[in-house]
Assembly symmetry: C2
């Protein structure tokens, strides 16, 4: 399996060297360098995670929570640095999803597509 | 990002060429070549998935379901081919988990460890 690990370390190096990673690093530093922006972003992240967790647990999300989430999204989208960071995260997520698809292809070939949830 | 995709395709090739993958392929074919063994294994897989889904949704698992699951595990573990396949799957899962840890390291360095659930 050593070739597989070699390829993984190559991929790690290539991710660190990519423009996508550099963008993410730069924007994340800018967002964190301003206390107000950092707080707004953390607030948004925490809200997002708590809603995702509720959804995963099959818990109901109250209308006030949906409303608060929408307000928070509007607020962060008005911040140009945060919205650029979120776009950069989106691009990185798409790359990671592509990579996972490629890597998992051999197992998918063996078992067929995973059952629908 | 082309280097990252190159590395992913290298990893895919290395996985297909690995002994771990060959074992998995061979054992999966043996299990599927016998109708009774195949049925037993599918039964076990379906039960496992439905229990995992319930757990993820925060649904309660009835004592009869736990009992049935234990019986099914005992049954499949007595089948030498299925238990070898399950061991091979375990080894492959550990490799995949290692690879993911390596690949996700750059993002982990950026964001810190993910919050505890
Ligand atoms: Ca299937
Ligand atoms: Ca953190």
């Amino acid at each position: 399996m050593s070739n597989v690990y070699d390829a993984a370390y190559e991929m790690e190096k290539a991710i660190r060297a990519s423009n996508e990673y550099a963008d993410l690093q730069r924007l994340y530093e800018i967002v964190n360098s301003d206390e107000a922006t950092k707080g707004m972003f953390e607030n948004f992240r925490n809200l997002q995670m708590s809603l995702q967790q509720k959804q995963m647990m099959g818990q109901e999300i109250a209308p006030e929570e949906v409303e608060q989430a929408q307000k928070t999204v509007q607020l962060v989208q008005q911040n140009p640095t945060i919205s650029k960071l979120m776009e950069a995260e989106q691009r990185m997520s798409m790359v990671i999803a592509d990579l996972n698809k490629i890597i998992m292809k051999p197992l998918e070939d063996l078992y067929g597509l995973p059952e629908q949830q």
